[in-house]
């Protein structure tokens, strides 16, 4: 007889109270429903009891603020009439960083947190977005509503950033030093020890450059009275600073950049060179040297005419004559200074020689050390690049021949590397421009105790031995 599976037979197999019995799957689900939220609740309670607010942080603090990880209430302070809300306030920021106002004419002062976003990890707080700057510079207004001398609309480097001001205004280099880059950078230039090929670094160096100048020598030092280029005094701590005197090229000085080739000898009788100094100093030096010379060589007070070598235009020299030492010194000083002022110094300097003045006037050099007064540039950050790749008019066939030429690169050169997207370097405003003028900052009242703060940090942030 085959098995019969009628509905009745099947129904009879079922215990009608089956749903009252616990089954493992449902039991597991029940306990997990109870235990998991309970675990979450206990975790919250435990952290609250321990007054550890780190779990509620919206993200890790920036590197500079990491010691404040457990000190939430340093920045999150109760505002007036608000007992529950503990938002971070500008006042809390200014208790350590009293950032001065950007521009006295600005229409509004943004809150610190609107540009500097905290709780985003180790990112630099200075790395503000272009939109933060464009809030004002996208359509620049002043508090008085008057027009501004600055460009009205700048939103990004890749977009509408204007040309560098010196090119925009067609300005010239105001320096009075006559310098021809083309001549100086040509091949086989006559150097102190034969022909040389000058390099940019022979004249343009950073203040803390430690390499000795290749044309410096003891003779040059003795002759010019200046020491050979020695590294500027740098505090040891400065070496770890981001800009230990390497951002800008130093002012090329005669002793460190020119003296190797441009000798300041004033008389064939003496190897000495005049000091590279004011005319008064040079004059005193020359007089002193001649006085010393004639005192050591009194025989030369008697002068014999050199008929054969006389130039036709020169007056005929008197017959043999005997001079007093004072006369001899005066005559030879005058002769030497005529050469110095008229040729040696004038080769580079703008010199005003007038008969009424005993000594000439040398124009100020007007050297421009910083061509970008409202931006910062760091040569050290660009040290791997050949100078001419950014300063094409510094050498080669198209090199500058005029001192008035401005040789800094145009903004297009910057944009080749500084652009948004991959394979480019930072292009946001903060890379070159600063919002706060920290030279005008106010001093703060120090209150934190680092050891106490570190003691509160978890062991990961406070490794043993530190």
């Amino acid at each position: 007889m085959p098995r019969v599976r009628t509905t009745k037979a099947l129904a009879q197999r079922i215990d009608l109270n089956y749903f009252k019995r616990p089954i493992p799957l449902r039991r597991w689900r029940f306990w997990l429903i109870v235990l998991l939220p309970l675990a979450a609740f206990l975790w919250i309670g435990w952290k609250l009891t321990a007054r550890d607010f780190r779990p509620y942080s919206s993200g890790p603090l920036s590197a500079g603020h990491v010691l404040l990880t457990r000190e939430c209430h340093t920045c999150h302070v109760a505002e007036k009439n608000a007992s529950f809300e503990l938002h971070s306030s500008d006042q809390a920021c200014k208790s350590c960083h009293d950032g001065p106002i950007h521009q006295v004419k600005q229409t509004s002062e943004p809150a610190c947190g609107s540009c500097h976003i905290e709780h985003r990890g180790a990112a630099r707080l200075i790395a503000t977005s272009d939109q933060s700057c464009a809030q004002c510079h996208g359509n620049l207004q002043t508090v008085a509503g008057s027009t501004t001398s600055y460009i009205k609309t700048i939103t990004s480097l890749g977009g509408d950033h204007p040309e560098i001001a010196v090119f925009r205004d067609h300005r010239k280099d105001p320096s009075t030093i006559r310098l021809n880059h083309k001549v100086h950078m040509k091949k086989d230039l006559l150097g102190p020890h034969g022909s040389v090929q000058l390099q940019c670094a022979d004249c343009h160096r950073q203040p803390v450059t430690r390499d000795a100048w290749r044309f410096g020598s003891a003779e040059t030092e003795a002759a010019t009275g200046a020491p050979s280029p020695a590294p500027a005094k740098v505090m040891k701590a400065d070496l770890y600073a981001p800009d230990p005197g390497r951002a800008l090229m130093t002012l090329p000085k005669f002793a460190e950049s020119c003296s190797g080739c441009h000798l300041l000898q004033f008389d064939k009788r003496m190897p000495d060179q005049v000091p590279h100094d004011k005319p008064e100093v040079v004059h005193a030096f020359v007089v002193k040297k001649f006085e010393a010379y004639i005192a050591a060589h009194p025989a030369e007070l008697r002068e014999q005419p050199e008929e054969d070598r006389r130039l036709p235009s020169r007056p005929a020299p008197p017959a043999a004559r005997v001079l007093t030492p004072a006369q001899w010194v005066a005559e030879h000083t005058k002769e030497a200074e005529k050469l110095l002022w008229g040729k040696t110094c004038r080769q580079c300097h703008a010199i005003d020689i007038t008969e009424s003045q005993p000594l000439p006037k040398v124009a100020e050099s007007n050297y421009t050390l910083h061509w970008l007064p409202r931006a910062r540039f760091d040569h050290d950050a660009h040290r791997g690049f050949a100078c001419a790749s950014c300063h094409p008019k510094a050498e080669g066939p198209g090199a500058s021949t005029d001192t008035a030429d401005v040789l800094i690169p145009k903004i297009g050169t910057c944009k080749e590397c500084h652009a948004p997207g991959p394979n480019h370097v930072e292009a946001r405003c903060f890379e070159c421009h600063a919002y706060h003028d920290w030279s005008k900052r106010k001093e703060v009242n120090p209150t934190f105790v680092p050891s106490a703060m570190r003691a509160q940090l978890p062991s990961a942030a406070n490794p043993p031995g530190q």
Binding site: M1, P2, R3, R5, L10, A11, Q12, R13, I14, D15, L16, N17, Y18, F19, R21, I23, L25, W28, R29, L32, I33, L35, L36, P37, A39, A40, F41, I44, R54, P55, Y56, S57, S58, G59, P60, C72, H76, F84, E85, L86, H87, S114, C115, I117, H119, T128, S129, Q131, S132, Q135
Partner: protein, 311 residues
């Protein structure tokens, strides 16, 4: 719940909401000076809507606790649970600006991701597995009663064997303590039902014929019925079982074949019950993750709201 044409309105509405919020988010992310942030007005809006969806999805559990209340159709609640719960994830990601943030917010986001992912997994299973059960388990029974049915199958098998071979002392009484307990606790029809079902078979095997049948029963059939999910039995495999029973039929007279067919039918039902157990577990095991995590998520989310308002 099958995701069929009755979900069309929900699907269209969800796609529209997702498209609109995505467009708003993209514009907002491009324009925001420092990228999208949860604390910005738009970020908060995303957060509030997303949290609202999460609460609605979570209320399904509460709704199931009061099935007789007139709170809308259960199917509507389930569709809303599915689609709004799914939308909660992108909205909360928009709220967070795709950042995980600190420890609490990271935990919240991971809980949400796991909850939604397990929910999607569960929805897919709920869509396909019931049909699979229908097709592959025609002898489907109530899951909670499977152990009891199995016990009955063993009793039935013993009855068949007794009818065919006479008393088999070594086979009788293979009922575990748990089964005895179940029998004691059983009520209703079970109490009235005879414990063994005979076949009423007229034919009894001779001593020579009994041996292979009994040997098959004790060595293969009974172990399979006691441990149906064991990996070793060839009766667990439909094709191999068919071969085994064909061989057995050749060893007994044709008159005994109906009883052998019944034993084969028992094995088939046992296999189907095993299949049903597996499919049922697959259909429900994700809930072990989904429900507890979603409750923890809602609890921590409330705390996150309080903390966000304070700081």
């Amino acid at each position: 719940m099958r995701i069929d044409e009755t979900h069309r309105v929900w699907l269209v509405a969800s796609v529209l909401i997702l498209g609109a919020t995505t467009a708003v988010y993209v514009l907002y992310a491009l324009e925001a000076p420092h990228g999208p942030r949860g604390g910005s007005p738009l970020g908060l809006t995303f957060g509030i809507i997303g949290f609202g969806f999460m609460i609605y999805a979570g209320l399904l559990g509460a709704r199931k606790q009061v099935p007789v209340w007139r709170l809308g159709r259960a199917q509507t609640w389930m569709r809303g649970h599915l689609w709004l719960g799914l939308l909660a994830l992108p909205l909360i990601l928009f709220h967070a600006g795709f950042h995980f943030g600190g420890p609490l917010t990271s935990i919240l986001l991971w809980l949400l991701i796991i909850t939604v992912a397990s929910g999607v997994f569960g929805a897919i299973l709920q869509h396909y597995v019931p049909r699979l059960i229908l097709e592959r388990v025609p002898m489907e029974t109530i899951y909670d009663e499977i152990d009891r049915i199995r016990m009955q199958l063993r009793e039935e098998a013993e009855g068949f064997m007794e009818d065919l071979c006479g008393n088999a002392p070594e086979a009788v009484g293979v009922i575990t303590a748990q089964e005895q307990d179940m029998e004691l606790r059983a009520g209703g029809y079970t109490a009235l039902r005879p414990s063994r079902t005979g076949t009423g078979a007229q034919y009894k095997l001779t001593e020579e014929e009994v041996e292979p049948v009994r040997s098959f029963y004790t060595a293969e059939l009974l172990p399979f019925l006691v441990h149906p999910e064991g990996p070793d039995s060839r009766l667990a495999d439909e094709t191999r079982a068919l071969g085994a029973f064909s061989k057995l039929r050749m060893l007994v007279p044709a008159a005994a074949h109906p009883v052998i067919a019944n034993l084969e039918s028992l094995c088939d039902e046992e296999r189907q019950l095993t299949r049903q157990v597996r499919l049922h577990r697959l259909l429900h095991i994700w809930l072990l993750l989904h429900i507890p995590l979603s409750l923890a998520l809602l609890l921590l989310s409330v705390f996150h709201v309080v903390i966000a308002l304070r700081y």
